[in-house]
């Protein structure tokens, strides 16, 4: 993480962006099962711009940096994901306002703020078969690991494991939000693309987390 002046915040954002671009086809195929297939494309096109503008983002502090990234995401990702992910980044920024570094409890607060932003913007609750269904349990696990005194790599790996298993469990749920919800009971049996994307991102973080 030595390349990143803002340390872990920057590293996390960059990993999310790289993961989104690398998984365009996979995420799109997941969305094609009962959705409309654009999820991978939307994320990739938006995060491509984040990567393109990477060097130019204002890095005064983590909040400023996150806010700038949020603007790109909100304004340039189409579909439902632009507003949802943009809101998540914006709320995370607010949660770290005026701090120059991010410790464990702050990270948890940022993730909670992001989830709440998504829930509000999307009018979604846990169990509606959305990305919240892996993001919220993964956040809980991070909080638990911090309470146990685990180190960074252990914490992130544990979060990834939880994100993956809860993402897989969304297959049992009936979609109540997004395009999938129109299919009613037919959405049961396939995983939620957003929830899987969260798992893939946490796994990418776990694979490279240094300290």
């Amino acid at each position: 993480m030595t390349d990143y002046p803002l340390g872990q915040v920057e590293f996390v954002v960059r990993t999310i962006a790289d993961t989104a671009v690398a998984n365009e086809k996979y995420f799109g195929d997941l969305d094609a099962v009962v959705g409309d297939g654009d999820f991978g494309y939307s994320l990739a096109r938006g995060f491509e711009l984040v990567i393109r503008d990477w060097d130019d983002f204002d890095r005064t502090d983590p909040a400023t940096f996150l806010r700038k990234v949020a603007v790109v995401i909100t304004s340039r990702i189409g579909g439902t994901s632009g507003p949802l992910w943009g809101t998540a980044f914006l709320r995370a920024a607010t949660a770290v306002t005026s701090k120059s570094a991010v410790d464990g409890p702050t990270a948890v607060a940022m993730l909670r703020a992001a989830s709440e932003g998504i829930a509000t913007r999307g009018n979604a609750s846990l169990g509606d078969k959305t990305l919240l269904d892996s993001l919220v349990p993964a956040t809980d696990e991070i909080e638990r690991q911090i309470g146990l005194g685990s180190d960074g790599p252990t914490t992130v790996r544990a979060a990834a494991t939880v994100a993956r298993s809860t993402a897989e469990e969304t297959a049992k749920l009936q979609a109540r939000r997004g395009r999938q919800s129109y299919t009613g009971e037919r959405s049961i049996g396939s995983v939620d693309p957003g929830a899987v994307a969260v798992a893939v991102i946490f796994e990418a973080l776990a694979d490279t987390w240094a300290v």
Binding site: A32, V34, G35, D36, G37, Y41, T74, G82, G184
Partner: protein, 331 residues
Amino acid sequence: MKKFVNDPNQFVPEMLKGVALANPDTLRYVPEYNLIMRVDAPSDDRVSLIQGSGSGHEPAHAMIVGKGMLDAACPGDVFSAPPMDYVLETSKMLASPKGVLHIINNYTGDRMAFDMGKELAEAEGVQIKTLLVDDDVAVADSTYTIGRRGVAGNFFVIKVVGAAAEQGADIDELVRLGEKVNSVTRTMGMALTSCTPPAKGTPLFDLGADEMEMGVGIHGEPGRRREKLADANTIVDELLEAVVTDLPYEKGDDVALMINGLGGTPIGELYILYGRAFEQLEARGIHVRRNYVGEYCTSLDMAGASLTLVKLDDEIVNGLSAPADIAIRTF
């Protein structure tokens, strides 16, 4: 993938550029925001009508910009709501002293993008109202979903509201009129095949050789159920039953009937559907006074069709019969 495409990521911009090149006297293309707008908009005398939604539904909506219909369209990528930014910038560029009307189809992504874009544009002084189209009877209005989807019926809303806007109607009047048209418009569609988004390169879903999808969404979302492939008459009867009983349309009603092709179905087949639908409606005592057979709101190259009914009154007929000048034309 059997498509005319160069770089799939440039599919939408290249299409929009083509539309503008074909209509240099009437349309302008602003590449930064995927924007197609009338060269004479905004006008001080006219509320500006804007529609945005995913691309892939052509001629909706980029090709129905013009006198008497939309002032601008800001389409997103194929099947994706436009980014909030496009909505914001389009609203600002089209700001008229009489206001800006957002006409949107009822999908989560579109509503979010337009809600956020509206809020930001209003903060910059643009007056905006919203008109929601939700004519699809395939999806039940439940507490879980955000309600019915907006599909081919948007043509009728835009046509009637566009005619009134051209006459200088104020924005509240346009909202009233649009809501009225939407409230008497119902649609159901079905797919014989899937469609292939250019960036995906493979069909969005699999339909067996002897299957069809009843109630399919215009983004290829699954519909009510998958059924065994049936003949044309059976398909029409099923669509008609769902649509007629929903409003319901009743004996003695005058209606407009639209048979809309989903992109891969030739017009000859659409007229076969029209003939059956006309006769079945007559048998129910419902009179087809206006008809629309062709492509109005498609799903890329999907073979399939949707059937729309609009209950007519004098005000709606006036709007539908008013002239308009858009990219889609015969001569």
